[in-house]
Symmetry: C2
Subunit: 147 residues, 2 copies
DNA sequence: CACAATAGCGTGCGCCGCGCACGCATCAGG
DNA sequence: CCTGATGCGTGCGCGGCGCACGCTATTGTG
């Protein structure tokens, strides 16, 4: 078999996806954050944190679901006080989904917890490897097969 | 911020998971394989391919769902001729889920396609980087934060 | 050997999230 | 001003899931 690396990565990703899909980790990380932050609504929070206020229609393809789905999830997040709907100044039909301070804080803390969780198990790696891995992973994201 | 690598990896994984969750890629990869192989049933196939015949109860935690869920998905896969139920010789209550030849071939081809898809976009990387990345990724799976 | 307790499997039930289609409000162009 | 197009939110039906139950087979106990 010539395509050794491809298979290696493919298998690893398969396992990784299965592992991270488990709600267990997410439940552990969201300890005490309220029911609104589940593995369904988190992609919305994360996307907003990365790209800033956006409309539901913009968010839909990024979240991998229908506009109506974004609406519903956003409503839940709004009820929990993590985001708010702001009228689009240039278009009165549209509303912009924007993180509240509480939302910003929540996603920041979640990111922090995940990073700590990852770093904790990586301190046994040889010194440079973690940095190299992080760099490769970033390139894999930005230039890889899943763009 | 001191935990640079952790954040780097955390963000990259977040993006990666969002990307790979999209049904688009899976639909592309399963082109012409029939409706039975969807992103719901694939974990079952993959687990069987990795570990050999297993009971539904064994598979449940690995697939991240209830035993009844495994039963239902297995039934669909059985109807599609990808797996079959074999009586457990040591326990006549239990049935072992085992890949048929067609199932073996299907999962092998899917793995092949994914590996090719990955390798294709990695041939622009510097020669050694892909191997290093694959090695690190494997270690990340086996010793990392998601075991 | 008889009988109770346990374990594995499959199924009915209710819940929930999703896509689809529709209605409503707004915008853009004639 | 009027018509078609666009963005949003909601009712509807579908489908997957967990839970609880029944059935069968196994194990343990006297």
């Amino acid at each position: 078999m010539e395509n050794e690396v491809g298979h290696e990565i493919a298998d690893a990703l398969g396992i990784l996806l299965k592992r991270t899909t488990r709600t267990q980790l997410h439940k552990h990380l969201t300890e005490g954050m309220g029911k609104a932050v589940d593995e369904l609504t988190y992609p919305i929070l994360s996307a907003l944190a990365r790209t800033g206020p956006r409309s539901a229609a913009d968010l839909a393809p990024d979240a991998g679901l229908d506009r109506s789905g974004v609406t519903r999830r956003a409503s839940r997040l709004e009820a929990a006080g993590l985001i708010r709907r702001e009228p689009d100044p240039t278009d009165r039909r549209a509303s912009l989904l924007v993180l509240t301070d509480k939302g910003e804080h929540t996603v920041a803390e979640l990111r922090e917890r995940l990073a700590a969780h990852i770093a904790a198990s990586l301190n046994s790696w040889p010194p440079g490897d973690a940095q190299t891995f992080a760099r490769h992973l970033r390139r894999f994201i930005t230039e890889g097969p899943f763009v």
